[in-house]
């Protein structure tokens, strides 16, 4: 299978050693300083390399990627989420993502698309992150319905998103609740502002 343009994220260095000195433009133009403050914080991770893999259950690619629909996990420096029955998202450091994609056997039939630029990614983190999400999303965020490593598609502030629970470990070693939210890039500023508003209540 030829590696076509769409499996090569633009954030990797070129073969001849030169690196394009162009910044990735995030869809969030105005970053409200309140985003990073308070008990619930909101960060923009839109520039992270992201790839989408589509494959039916009976393909080699599906076996290699594994995971049940609705779950996600870290694999070294790469994060894999099975967000639809037949779709996985792979994100992380550019070269790691490219390497993982390149290793996939796309026979029978599987395909990949670079979605680095088409999907934004935000993180909502904090003890009350679920409560903040409850302001704008009708999913059940309780631990048994959305445990760490779960993912689901839902409307967030009226915009179609994928929500992945990916708790992080704080400086003191304690686990902090955290959600990654992905959606169409064009809603970036709107969604960022809506999330800042939703979390304001929690200080």
């Amino acid at each position: 299978m030829l590696v076509s343009w769409n499996t090569m994220p633009t954030s990797i260095p070129k073969e001849n050693g030169s690196v394009a000195d162009i910044q990735f433009e995030s869809p969030v133009i105005i970053v409200d300083p309140a985003a990073a403050c308070g008990s619930v914080t909101l960060t923009d991770e839109s520039s992270m390399t992201k790839a989408s893999v589509r494959a039916a259950d009976d393909t080699a690619a599906a076996s290699a990627l594994g995971l049940a629909f609705g779950s996600a996990e870290h694999r070294g420096d790469v994060f894999v989420a099975r967000i639809r029955p037949d779709e996985w998202m792979v994100f992380g450091a550019a070269d790691m993502v490219v390497a993982m994609i390149a290793e996939l056997d796309l026979g029978g039939y599987a395909s990949t698309v670079d979605i680095t630029h088409s999907r934004l990614m935000f993180r909502v983190t904090g003890g009350e992150a679920a409560k903040a999400m409850e302001k704008v999303c009708s999913l059940d965020f309780s631990d048994h319905m959305a445990p760490n490593g779960s993912c689901a598609g839902a409307s967030v502030a009226k915009v179609g998103c994928d929500v992945i629970r990916d708790d992080i470990v704080g400086a003191d070693g304690a686990t902090i609740r955290s959600y990654r939210i992905l959606c169409d890039r064009s809603f970036g500023q709107y969604l960022f502002d809506a999330l800042v508003d939703a979390k304001a209540e929690f200080g």
């Binding site: 395909s111 088409s118 048994h144 969604l191």
Partner: protein
């Protein structure tokens, strides 16, 4: 001299005497305490008339002193219709009476009382009708009598928001049973949300004995310890399918009112009982009130409701009122025990207060306070909303829950009677049952949900309802005395009105309600429905069961539009180039959810520059679908009207898509980027719809096709570079793409690097009719490339052009726009693209209807030019058969062309008129008829397309 009706401090009160509050009532300065309701504070200061009734403007005082009291609606500052029997006093409140003129004391509109005979129920259906020409006058007169407070249009918007919740159990009502149910459920491990209408939990315990109050405090502490989330001054306002609940939360720290949308596994209805007024002559005189009102005023608010009372008692609440009155130093002149056959016949008084009561045994007693305790109404609304039809029990004189669905349980006074401990025991049993059922439901939902944690073991058994029911105490049926009185205080509907309406034929409860408006006022039937039904039963000589009730619908209590609206966020989409547009004087236009540049000051100049030099425009909203797989050609052939099996790599083809009824759905160009890799474009507004259309076909009709579809509409920032200098400009920026005319022809596609950005796609297509290239750039670098174009093209005369200039240019070239020049009835042949309709191809969407349409008559899109080049007909102007009013078409697009310096149009006309050279008659919006000519080609400018193919 202001008299104070304030009682000495007591241990039972909720007012805090150490916190006085100053307020204003109708211009009078008054003082109350924290914990007072607005009404209790006013009463304490000696005023007992708080409003005037709707129709007759009769003076009104406290009736029930709770949320439903219809006589206590007041204006507080800029907020109308505040319920003074519920709302707590706050410092600085400016309170005034509503619906009075010139003042509460002297209300000239009370003259209605004299004309009462002519203002019976439904009078407005019979009066103010003729002569019809006087309707504007009638309207002015009637408006003066419209009820309700004043709305200040400049009221600042408060903060309202929403929240979702997924509690295991929601308990509606925090009386003893509700509290007990919440505690028990939480102790069984359920997540519990307890919602209470009043400002404190405890229900009737709050105005009972000291023991009652201590019990309430204990229950509250237990609930907090068990982790119950308690919302006070909040209402469960609606129950929808599958226990979807609307909860209106007031008294929230940051929001004026918050709407909680909760999906509860089990709903426990512990709404208690609402005390019903009695119907008799004079029953709305100030000084006539229910036993609950009296007990609340005395015990909770320390207010003396009168000096000398008569009590009509049919139950324990009446007995307690007698005790409370005596303790408050009110003379109890007579207790009429209604458990026998004695009752009150009528009340007499002046305009301002009751003065005496006539008892059915013939005696007449002087008093300034008449207390009634004649029975209870079960507030079964939430049960009704869940599908239950409560049943009337004549021995107990009220309705009881019948058979709600398994996930709705009722407890407490609404299900039966008992001591405080019995209510608590029933509540506990209900809470345990609720937790058990919620647990089983949670297991089932968790097992069925893909993203949920795995469940251990089998689904727990669904517990059956083995609760010992509360007993039903006997209670006399007391609805109406032997005289006529008010049934609906909000609407001034008397029992005489109801008899009259029934006699006129409005004798079903639904008709009676709507004709008289009984139960349709602010108390929404809480105090009136049962009496209304009972009186209708009287009129029909039937029983209450036979008459039935009206249907209870949400909301249970009023909810503000602000809470329903929530945060005023509407999603907005912008391209990555948007910051540049904003900074450079664009005029924004909203296209769907997209904010786009309409122009940058002068769209005609933009057109001229593009056709002379080079223009660039941001077309990012253009729909883009990445298609991969060996079966993509089959998909394209299925969805487009033309043939796609042999498009070479690097080739681009235009296609029209139809729905199955042959109507044009969308159009666009599709490119083949690789062996099994295509990129489809759609119209901007059709992007989402076409994606759904494609997925529908792939999943439901052809799941065997190997095709994967991914939207890249916003992942690729799209810029159209058009004009004679476009090739020169682009060549300064591209790497690895030969732009030479022979190497890169019209309707082809290439990939490469632009301004150091890899993985860009370059199309040679042309909506504007100029030599043009459309570049698709990964959006994270879109603005970079836009800036590079502007920088590199300065000496070439580069300038941006907006949506308006693009629309003018495409119109000059006669390119139709789906949805603008076609409509919901336009089948494919109307576009004129007959050569694209490949009937010899196998099945494609819309083929059947298109084939049939071709054999028939259909309207045709043509290019039209008005004879007078200065006239630009409005879009949608009708085209008529000359000399008649027969419509034969319409103008679909119309602009002044700066290139040709005349007006140019596209139109749909019947085939008969679609012949080049035909003169059309166009009816302008101002009524003028003008002539216009059907042109030879769709393109008004450069019909051979020489510029395009250069």
């Amino acid at each position: 001299m202001i008299m104070s009706n304030r009682l000495p401090e007591s241990s039972s009160e909720v007012v805090d005497r150490s916190k006085p509050i100053r307020f204003d009532w109708n211009g009078k300065k008054m003082k109350g305490f924290e914990g007072d309701t607005i009404a209790s504070a006013i009463l304490a200061n000696g005023d007992h008339i708080l409003s005037r009734s709707l129709k007759y403007h009769r003076p009104r005082g406290v009736l029930t002193h709770d949320f439903w009291d219809p006589n206590l609606m007041v204006q507080v500052g800029d907020e109308p219709n505040v319920r003074a029997g519920h709302r707590r006093l706050e410092a600085g409140m400016k309170i005034s009476a509503q619906n009075v003129w010139p003042s509460l004391k002297f209300d000239a509109k009370a003259a209605n009382g004299i004309a009462g005979r002519f203002l019976t129920a439904g009078f407005y259906y019979k009066t103010f009708m003729k002569p019809a020409r006087l309707w504007p006058v009638y309207e002015k007169v009637l408006a003066r009598f419209a009820p309700g407070g004043e709305v200040d249009l400049n009221t600042p918007h408060g903060y309202h928001d929403k929240r979702y919740a997924h509690p295991d159990v929601v308990v509606a009502g925090a009386g003893p049973a509700g509290l007990a149910a919440a505690i028990a459920a939480a102790q069984c491990g359920a997540s519990v949300l307890l919602v209470e209408h009043e400002y404190e939990v405890g229900g009737h315990l709050l105005w009972g004995t000291d023991d009652d109050r201590a019990a309430a405090a204990t229950l509250l502490a237990q609930a907090a310890a068990a982790g119950v989330e308690i919302l006070t001054n909040s209402t469960v306002t609606g129950r929808y399918e599958d226990n979807w609940l609307g909860i209106a939360q007031r008294s929230h720290p940051i929001a004026v009112e918050r709407l909680i949308k909760a999906r509860a596994k089990v709903l426990v209805v512990a709404a208690g009982l609402i005390e019903r007024p009695y119907v008799f002559q004079g029953n709305d005189l100030p000084g006539v009130m229910t036993s609950g009102a009296v007990s609340r005023l005395i015990n909770m608010y320390g207010v003396k409701p009168g000096k000398c009372a008569v009590v009509l008692a049919a139950n324990e609440s009446g007995d307690q009122a007698v005790e409370d009155l005596k303790r408050a130093d009110v003379e109890v002149a007579r207790v009429v025990d209604a458990r026998g056959s004695t009752t009150v016949n009528c009340a007499k008084g002046s305009r301002t207060r009751i003065k005496s009561v006539e008892v059915s045994d013939g005696s007449s007693i002087d008093c300034d306070l008449l207390v009634t305790a004649v029975g209870w109404t079960a507030p079964t609304s939430l049960l009704n909303m869940s599908g239950d039809r409560p049943v009337y029990d004549a021995a107990a004189a009220r309705f009881f829950p019948n058979s709600p669905p398994d996930n709705v349980l009722a407890t407490g006074g609404i299900t039966g009677d008992g001591s405080r401990d019995e209510l608590i025991a029933h509540g506990r049993a209900t809470g345990e049952l609720a937790a058990g059922r919620a647990n089983a439901a949670r297991h089932r939902i968790q097992a069925a949900t893909a993203s949920a944690a795995a469940v251990a073991g089998d689904e727990p058994e669904y517990p059956s309802d083995n609760r010992a029911p509360l007993t039903r105490a006997d209670h006399p049926e007391l609805h109406r005395s032997s005289t006529h009185g008010l049934v609906d205080y909000s609407e001034d509907i008397s029992s005489k009105d109801l008899f009259g309406a029934a006699a006129e034929g409005f004798d079903s409860v639904e008709l009676l309600k709507r004709f008289t408006t009984a139960t349709m006022g602010p108390s929404q039937g809480k105090l009136e429905t049962v009496n209304t039904v009972a009186i209708l039963a009287e009129a029909r000589a039937e029983t209450i069961e036979q008459v039935g009730t009206t249907v209870w619908r949400p909301p249970y209590a009023p909810i503000s539009l602000g809470a329903l609206g929530g945060r005023v966020f509407e999603p907005v989409r912008v391209s990555s180039i948007h910051p540049w547009h904003e900074a450079n004087g664009y005029t924004p236009i909203l296209a769907g959810q997209w904010v786009r540049p309409e122009h940058y000051g002068d769209p005609h100049a933009e057109v001229r520059n593009t056709r002379t030099n080079v223009g660039i425009t941001d077309v990012t909203p253009l729909g883009k679908l990445d298609l991969q797989g060996p079966d993509v050609p089959k998909l394209l052939s299925q969805l487009y009207t033309n043939k796609w099996m042999k498009l070479p790599v690097g080739g681009v083809r235009y296609g029209i898509m139809c729905a199955e009824d042959g109507v044009v759905l969308d159009d666009g160009v599709t490119a083949r980027l690789g062996e099994d890799h295509y990129l489809m474009t759609t119209t901007s507004s059709g992007a989402g719809g076409v994606w759904n259309w494609v997925e529908n076909w792939l999943q439901t009709e052809h799941p065997e096709w190997q095709v994967h579809v991914t939207p890249l509409t916003t992942g690729l920032t799209s810029i159209n570079i058009a004009g004679p200098n476009s090739r020169k400009l682009l060549s300064r920026l591209v790497d690895c793409i030969d732009l030479g005319p022979g190497a890169f022809e019209y309707m082809q596609v290439r990939t490469g690097t632009i301004a150091e950005v890899d993985n860009c796609i370059v199309w040679r297509i042309g909506f504007t009719g100029e030599l043009s290239y459309e570049i698709h750039v990964p959006s994270g670098h879109g603005l970079h490339v836009w800036n590079a174009l502007l920088e590199q093209g300065e000496d070439l005369g580069v300038a941006p052009f907006g949506l308006e200039a693009q629309r003018i240019m495409r119109l000059e070239k006669g390119h139709f726009i789906v949805g603008q020049d076609t409509d919901g009835l336009s089948k494919a042949p109307t576009t004129g693209m007959i050569s694209l309709l490949k009937l010899d191809k196998d099945d494609w969407a819309g083929k059947t209807e298109v084939a049939w349409a071709l054999e028939d008559d259909y309207p045709v899109i043509v290019a039209v030019q008005p004879t007078d080049p200065k006239i630009v007909p409005e879009e949608a102007c009708q085209i008529l058969r000359d000399g008649t009013r027969e419509i034969v078409g319409r103008i679909t697009s119309s602009r002044h062309s700066p290139t040709l310096e005349r007006s140019v149009c596209l139109a749909q006309v019947s085939r008969e008129f679609a012949v080049a050279g035909t003169t059309l008659t166009v009816l302008l919006a101002n009524g003028e008829r003008i002539n216009a000519r059907v042109m030879e080609h769709h393109a008004h400018f450069d019909p051979e397309g020489e510029r395009l193919r250069g």
